[in-house]
Amino acid sequence: MIRYVLGRLTSLIVSLIVASIVIFAVIEVIPGDPAAFMLGVNARPDTIAALRAEMGLDQPLITRYLAWVTGLLQGDFGQSWTYKTPVADLINDRIWVSLPLAVYALILSTLIAFPAGIYAASRRGDAGDVTIMGATQLGVAIPNFWFAMILVLIFAINLRWFSAGGFPGWGDPLQAIKALTLPAIALALPQAAILARVMRSSLLDMLGEDFIRTARAKGLSRRQALWRHAVRNALIPVLTIIGLQFSFLLAGGIIIEQVFFLPGLGRLIFQSISARDLIVVESVVMLLVFTVIVVNFLVDLAYAAVDPRLRTKA
């Protein structure tokens, strides 16, 4: 088990190093001169030179990369060109919107998908199964921003249970959660639809396995065999999807953030790209990659918790 965790940890560190090199290369090396890019086509040569000096672009590549990485490790993400504030502060303001929103959406999607998938699998071919599968088909097909607008129309404009957008901050946690509820639902529904389908098909695969027949021969009812033997075995592919979905929810919430006027990471990165603020883009992308890799590491640990075969293999 320790060997497995160490192995995954090594792979995590290697992935982070490779990712940082790729991001650095794509943003700083490939498009030519970042300073010229940031200032646009009409910039005067001396302004560009000044910016180059300010960004340290006159230094050799290796020095710049190491300076960037050591900065990241110390929490120094550099100074934003457009906002004129430390990037760390920009991220700090927004991550506390995006991260809770992603977690909230993930919890909702799991809470919807697990029961729906298990119910559908246990009643394969029945009306309940057909209804749930039909609903998930819709859930996958309908874009989440459309869901978002419908939710706003019903719950904010007609019923007035929630506000239509904005974020009051975490001063009052209840209000904050309330403000994130509609966006979280809008994000969660399509994800839940995918997850429910994966859960169902993975469970159906497991229900056809020999050990389910063995369990039935022991005297377990169909339902007992499903809960005690099939569900845990069915979790592996489901965990994979959950890991992928979290990454999407964190960065991909950009449209939903736009619909609900939420000051999140998605909007920050969108605005930074529009403003050609490469320093912000570079750091936020690295942060997102970091989160994705860490989530994948956690998913790997979850695999081992579910499946004893992985613990001994390493």
Partner: protein, 528 residues
Amino acid sequence: MSLLAINDLSLSIGDTPILHDIDLTMQAGEIVAITGESGSGKSMTALAIMGLLPHGAKPSGNIVLDGADILQTSEPDLCRMRGNTMGMVFQEPMTALNPVQTIGDQVAETILIHEKTTKAEAHQRAAAMLERVGLTVSPKRYPHELSGGQRQRVVIAMAIVLRPKLLIADEPTTALDVTTQARILDLLRDLVREFDMGLLIITHDLAVVADIADKIVVMQSGRVVEAGTTAHLLTHMQHPYTKSLFEASRHAVSLPDTIQSAPMLNVQNINRDYPIARQTLLGPRPMFRALHDISFQINQGERVGLVGESGCGKSTLTRAILGLEDVQGGQITLDGDPVFTGKHPNLAVRRKMQVVFQDPYSSFNPRHRVDRLITEPFHLLKQPPKGQARQDAVAKALVDVGLSPDDANKYIHEFSGGQRQRIAIARALIIAPELIIFDEAVSALDVSVRAQILDLIAALCRKRPLAYLFISHDLSVVRRVTDRVMVMQAGKIVEQGETETVFSNPQHRYTQTLIAAAPRLPDLGMAV
């Protein structure tokens, strides 16, 4: 009152009739064997007794077990009976256990769902039962840490921990090695005696049947064609099907005599090492030696057998001979040329060798027509035949294995298992190789089909001198189709010699164990 009485059991799924008027009775303490070929309805009968019929099955008649008619019993009552009154052991021990639960938990579960008892007590009883079935490992182990034989013991423990009156075992030893099979059959026999339960064993292996059963029931296409006590049935079998079954499983083939010839395949002192998982994070990867200093020769037109239990290195050796992998010591040559050159199989040598695998269902691409499937080896030739010559070659290969030239345009799913194995042989023969490797090529076939394929191999040998390496775990088959045999254990060849000599007078202890463990059909002295 009998323990189990089946009267007029018929069964259909949809519009397809599966079972017809099955009658069967058995007493406590009795071992009854149901035998027959695949698709004869053996397993479906067992599932009907367990009340575990597949969705949509429509049974009629009655199955009275311990006073209760299974077909009239409600599902909740059946759940109370399963594991309690009747238990079942299945064929595939590798997949019959839940991979994410400890074996102790899985045995204890049988107790916990049927009896109001504490977890601690259930685990104690489970541990005791695991010990009783001869398992020496801790109940805290997971299934993947156990061998096939050990897993089958766990499955048996699970089925009998509540001492059911009837134990059904569906091909319980088919997936196991002969020595393991002998031990599991001994265990089942002991348990029947100790617990005074009835054992209904389902197996296609007539030697096992003759060995263990008090009573034999022979099934064919969903009908019981003959039944009786073992001693009586073996000496007075009436039904032609029963006779043909026994005849087929002892079927002798007439191989032509071998001719004195020159050595062709030369395997010299080969070793094969595989890296295994590191013990420390950055330490060197330890090696596992799968083949130890293997040396042998196969002459032109010689038929050589290779026997050994699973994991002994048979398949590794096959891959090495075919030049699919490099070896870490020694050399393999065919007609003086190495089979492996640098990174690839030596094509000049490869076209002289072909292989026929075990599973006729998964060794063909289902989207290709037979024509394309059997001409696959043509890519080994420098100038493969084209046009009419190619069609003639295909037709000839099909006719040689007893199929029709028209079969070239069909897809593989249109053929039965035996026909598919014929196609596999046609594929191997089409480039007239000097050596064919039969890797468990008849192991998945029913006895009657197996007899036909063995006849086909003998007929091919009569047509032209054909050398082959016949790899099998089934000693009786190897004995019938080879001139010389090699016995392999843990990566080493422990004995080799003339087939008859080795079988009648084995020298090595392992060979003796193997031969002693293999169940044999008794000499019946009857007219068949």
